[in-house]
């Protein structure tokens, strides 16, 4: 078991013929992912990396029954690609693209919500279900199958945690990078609810960062006694400066939410163990599973 993607996922890549798209499609395939189609308007009918290319997602889906799409198209066109996938009935969309204008994303997100479709990202590293399938850019070799679920707002920190766990012999079910942008698809809440329901996941690691209040919302709405699995939290940016604020308006909206302290406290109130370093996170995860982290190589 796992969440979101598995060996059974039929993966479409939008922007497969581009530089990033083709490099990472190759990586995904070499990880064993079932990549069934690519979409590049105007290149329909060709084949790349052994994958058939279509002009539109509708066409690709009709022929291949793709149910997951990974999006690697450039930022000015990425919101449109997300909506195309949603309108065509793709059930899970993973948008890797960074730098999408926020108004584009606000609209695309409303569109995806109306379509009742799951979106991960944008500006995210994607999803790996260890030893089964990968949609995105998480390096292949760092993953190891096991029973820890990871959900993270930070791309590269996710890699740190995965690598740390794997090196300590603590394997993962699914690792999900939800992305670092202000406007996201699924948030901690929704992904944690999936982990809660996943029988194979025995502990969950949440990697948050300053800004917004998604960590607080997850702590209040999903975590707590009913969650039923150990949760290990980590918040980056504790020593970061307040950073740029969006004038008065931003302060009026965000109030006191979004600081590292607010997030750490909310997670602790919900019973999570909040760690100060990635090394501690790894050790805590091992302990939660009853594996002494130093000697747990299976």
């Amino acid at each position: 078991m796992s969440i979101l993607v598995s060996r059974a996922s039929r993966v479409l890549v939008q922007g497969l013929t581009g530089r990033e798209g083709s490099f990472h499609t190759e990586q995904m395939k070499s990880y064993g992912t079932n990549v069934v189609a690519g979409v590049s308007p105007g290149k329909g009918g060709t084949t790349q990396l052994g994958v058939p290319i279509y002009d539109t997602v509708v066409d690709a889906r009709r022929d291949t029954r793709a149910d997951v799409s990974g999006i690697f198209v450039p930022a000015p066109f990425a919101a449109d690609a997300i909506m195309e996938a949603a309108a065509a009935g793709i059930g899970l969309i993973v948008c890797i693209t960074e730098g999408i204008p926020l108004y584009d994303m606000v609209r695309a997100r409303a569109f995806v919500e109306d379509a009742g479709v799951r979106l991960i990202g944008p500006n995210c590293p994607g999803i790996v279900t260890a030893d089964e399938a990968k949609v995105g850019i998480i390096p292949n070799h760092i993953n190891r199958a096991g029973s820890v679920g990871i959900v993270s707002r930070s791309g590269t920190l996710t890699y740190e945690v995965i690598q740390g766990l794997s090196q300590a012999g603590v394997g993962q079910t699914t690792s999900v990078g939800i992305g670092g942008d202000p406007i996201l698809g699924l948030s901690f809440k929704e992904v944690l609810a999936l982990f809660k329901a996943d029988g194979a996941t025995r502990a969950v690691i949440l990697i948050g960062e300053i800004g917004g209040s998604d960590e607080e919302a997850a702590a209040e709405e999903v975590l707590g006694p009913g969650f039923g699995k150990p949760v290990i939290g980590f918040i980056s940016g504790r020593t970061a400066p307040p950073g740029k604020r969006m004038g008065h308006a931003g302060a009026i909206i965000s109030g006191n939410m979004g600081t590292a302290t607010s997030k750490v406290q909310a997670l602790q109130r919900a019973g999570a163990q909040v760690c100060d370093t990635i090394e501690e996170v790894v050790a805590a995860a091992g302990a939660a599973l009853g594996q002494p982290s130093s000697a747990a190589h299976r």
């Binding site: 926020l102 409303a110 850019i137 707002r153 791309g155 670092g180 400066p241 931003g250 370093t277």
Partner: protein, 377 residues
């Protein structure tokens, strides 16, 4: 991208949002001419930061001579590090009441939000904290924008019903302007009610989404070249850089990883000189450029590069580091931690160039703090 007050007001005017008549002046004589044409004026320093009123950057002038004197005092002031090079002279308003009207993106609601309050002016953040009921909000559907009935409801909730006929169209125009410019923030504060019952945008703030600049290639915002020279240079190089007050230069890929690197440096007893994120998929040139930037900062005593490649490739990063170190003849301690996509190639290249990558981010942070403290290479 940020704009000066007069640049924002020009856009308000073009969008049909009423603003006071005004003229830009670069010398005291130009300010006198403006006052001659406009009558009594407010002479306002044009700087891309708030708080200029408290700093003495706004003066009232009844006559051209007054205006000349006021401009003479303000031009040449430095406000929060920005020398004042221009003043905006605008017709003095007889303001009877100050409202607040603003638009931003509400990341928790995943929607834009319009904010209206009958209590505007300087202290709006305090109003928000202590009298949240005095602040009315509307989250327009991002496809539909604010609908007339929603705007009416907002106005009545803010207790501004009698201004409905004027305020409704103004709010809809403000939203359209924000959409046109991909504004992250667009504020009218104060939105002034004048003695004759009219509404006028007495001050304005506009900040544009950098990600949307491909739609606004012809836009020119405030000249921010007066700010910290390294920040300005970073902007020219399109690097995501924030100046901090420590001595360890930090480069990493991904905001979370860089923030965590700052935390690690602090845990090891050092303090970072900056936040510098080269983002995802950076090529050798970007790494080169980032390293060059930090090397030019006299505050930096050691540099830590922390790369975990996903979409970023180790070999690309290694090429950038090696080329830059050679070209710059880098004398500072340089510690690299590199893992992830193409890490083997990257690490091999570095080692061939005499740079031994550290095993972990923690180890790398410890090393750079140690080297910077002792001044070793």
């Amino acid at each position: 991208m940020k704009f000066l007050e007069y640049q924002v007001k020009e856009r308000f005017k073009a969008a049909g949002i009423p603003v006071p008549d005004g003229r830009l002046a670069r010398t005291p004589d130009e300010a006198a001419l403006a006052a001659g044409a406009l009558g009594p004026v407010a002479v306002k320093a044009q700087v891309p930061v708030g708080g200029r009123g408290k700093a003495g950057g706004i003066k009232l002038a009844r006559t051209p001579m007054d205006a000349k004197r006021a401009a003479g005092e303000i031009l040449g002031m430095t406000i929060k590090g920005y020398p004042v090079r221009e003043v905006w002279c605008e017709t003095a308003q007889e303001i009877t009441h100050e409202l607040y009207l603003g638009l931003t993106l509400d990341r928790d609601a995943r929607k834009p939000v319009l904010i209206l309050s009958a209590q505007g002016g300087m202290e709006i953040e305090e109003v928000a904290e202590h009298h949240p009921e005095a602040i009315a909000k509307l989250h327009p559907d991002p496809w539909r924008g604010p609908l007339p009935f929603e705007v009416r409801d907002l106005i009545f909730r803010a207790g501004l019903g009698p201004l409905q006929a004027q305020l409704g169209p103004l709010i809809i125009k403000l939203y359209a302007l924000a959409r046109t410019y991909d504004a992250l923030t667009l504020e009218v504060n104060p939105l002034a009610l004048t003695r004759d019952g009219g509404l006028v945008a007495a001050d304005g703030k506009l900040e544009i989404d950098e990600n949307a600049m491909f739609r606004h290639k012809d836009l020119h915002g405030a000249d921010e070249s007066d700010e910290d020279p390294i920040e300005a240079e970073a902007k020219r190089r399109k690097l995501t850089y924030v100046r901090l007050d420590g001595s360890i230069g930090v480069i990493g890929n991904g905001a979370g990883l860089v923030m965590n690197t700052l935390d690690l440096v602090q845990r090891e007893g050092g303090r970072a000189a900056n936040f510098l994120d080269i983002g995802g998929g950076a090529k050798a040139e970007v790494v080169h450029s980032a390293l060059e930037l930090l090397a030019s900062d006299p505050q930096v005593k050691g540099i830590l590069i922390n790369i975990f490649g996903g979409i970023t490739r180790g070999d690309e990063v290694a090429h950038g580091i090696i080329d830059a170190a050679r070209e710059l003849n880098l004398k500072l301690p340089l510690v690299v931690r590199m893992t992830g996509t193409r890490e083997e190639e990257g690490r091999r290249l570095l080692q061939e160039a005499g740079i031994t990558p550290e095993a972990s981010a923690t180890a790398a942070a410890r090393k750079v703090v140690e080297l910077a403290a002792t001044g070793q290479r």
